[in-house]
Symmetry: C2
Subunit: 320 residues, 2 copies
């Protein structure tokens, strides 16, 4: 990695900020690509910021020609299911076409390894009835076009499919939302200023949570050792109920936190744990593998991740 | 069909011209969408021409709002494999994004039935190693997004997958190329002005050829009777060697035609007939059906198609 030119897209995002810090520390020459100038400061510590709208084909080619990367970590994209219902075309343009502009631009850099961050929320065309939401469609097609471009134009393209990533930083995931609620409750300092109860009716839903810093290390493994054309799943291997995660976070709260747990477990027969999308039994995919095959292991315990998320909000969203 | 507002995209193309004529004759109120004003004359006989660049999202929405179609036959798109290698992104933009702009625009016309012309050259994501060319990728994704939009937004979307379409008109298919060569040979009127020999080294390649006018009738069947979300294959059911087709066309020539047949059959052991892409044994697809299930049958004999193609070139590319 030392001295290698690594281009990271989506550098101002939740994973992007951790990735920039990690690869900088590892000695890479990091170019941190952001869409707008404003959040550049978030990634400036030692990395070279680069403002580029990836949906502008010519701007992408100009960036590739200027930066001349040896490796690319493509994290940019939209990732909100509700937003994808509101503007599905933007999801197709951002997650599919922008990725294609990047891949096409990188044809002038033969040998440049390209890791594209996919999603476990993809569907299986021809098997599943259809995508459950436009986000799923966009990530499914992003993966297909990335693998196809790799095959058609002999590009070393790799795919990663992380599970639910958690950790300090600007995430809109479940852990971050609850942690923010806890810190707001702590700040209220009394019953008067307490926020509305946090609603958690799906406490039996199972999810595999992984610390974002572990995921970034996994990206490093895939970039270094991954096999071209492969899809690498990244997970901790442990599924937990949302209720368990909530309990662990609430145990770290310094004051009482208003919660709405929905119906009492005694009210109805306890529902069976709900399989998460990631937890669905998946048929083996010829091109899919797990990053643990490359020697990577999750290292950050769930307690550490949750404590760090709380600290992030307690410190006014500073640091990672 | 009578009095129904039908919007046909790609109206100036090979199939589009036949479709406009057919549906006009059937009493539909046809809007013939063309990309540029210049070829409008080709489709003006009774149809309402409409100039629209389908890769312009706003223009597409304006067209839908103005025309307010009851049915759409989406024939527009790029369809040259060699060209798709030269500019693969244009194929993705034209065959995938433009189709999405149309589908998204039509969400304001709930109930509007939309027939999208797909291709037999698609690949099977997750099963095949990858698409053989960018054209295949673009048509595969066009089909996926069309079916997905239908599922996500409850749109009555139907897919058609025609085999090789032949007939009079501006086609760049094998039959048209050879017919044009024959007519040029006839026009030369002597050994001096004869064109270079027509090279046909793949005479054992098998293809299913169908008259374009039969295909247009099949589109009518699918629009009328097809089941939403289904893929309808359209073929004559008979595969023929390219050598047989060439022989039939040459038998209609009025003068000798210079041909280059490649190595004599006696030179090597005769190679086995080559399976065409369309002739590959395909695994059954849950969503796929054949338009013959709807009562459609091919009606135009191969002799008629070939004679009409020759006449088209003999008459200076006039008429259909």
């Amino acid at each position: 990695m030392k001295g290698r030119r690594l281009l990271i897209t989506g550098a101002a995002g939740f994973t992007g900020r951790h990735a920039v810090a990690y690869f900088k520390a590892a000695g890479a020459e990091v170019t941190a690509v952001v869409r707008k100038p404003s959040p550049v400061s978030a990634v400036q510590d030692g990395a070279q910021p680069y403002v580029c709208d990836l949906s502008d084909r010519k701007a992408v080619q100009a960036m590739v020609d200027e930066v001349r990367p040896d490796e690319v970590l493509h994290l940019a994209g939209r990732n909100s299911v509700p937003e994808s219902w509101r503007d599905p075309l933007v999801y197709m343009e951002t997650n599919v076409m922008a990725t294609l502009y990047l891949l096409e631009g990188l044809r002038s850099r033969p040998g440049c390894r390209i890791l594209v961050a996919g999603s476990r929320l993809k569907y299986r065309p021809g098997e599943d009835a259809g995508p459950p939401h436009p986000y799923s469609l966009s990530k499914t097609l992003e993966e297909l076009v990335s693998l196809a471009w790799g095959t058609l134009f002999k590009q070393p393209v790799l795919l990663a499919e992380p599970c639910n990533l958690i950790g300090p930083g600007p995430s809109t995931g479940f852990c971050s939302l609850l942690a923010e609620h806890i810190v707001r409750s702590e700040a209220a300092g009394g019953a008067e200023g307490l926020p509305q109860p946090f609603k958690l009716s799906s406490r039996h839903t199972l999810r595999d949570f992984l610390d974002v810093r572990d995921a970034v290390r996994a990206y490093d493994y895939i970039l270094k050792y991954g096999e071209t054309g492969k899809v690498y799943k990244i997970d901790s291997g442990t599924e937990r109920e949302l209720g368990e995660i909530a309990g662990r976070l609430l145990a770290l709260a310094k004051t009482p936190v208003p919660m709405d747990w929905g119906p009492e477990p005694g009210d109805h027969a306890a529902p069976p744990p709900v399989q998460s999308a990631a937890g669905k039994p998946e048929p083996p995919e010829a091109s899919a593998d797990n990053v643990s095959r490359l020697g990577w292991r999750a290292e950050t315990g769930i307690e550490q991740s949750l404590a760090d998320i709380l600290d992030y909000y307690r410190n006014g969203k500073e640091g990672r």
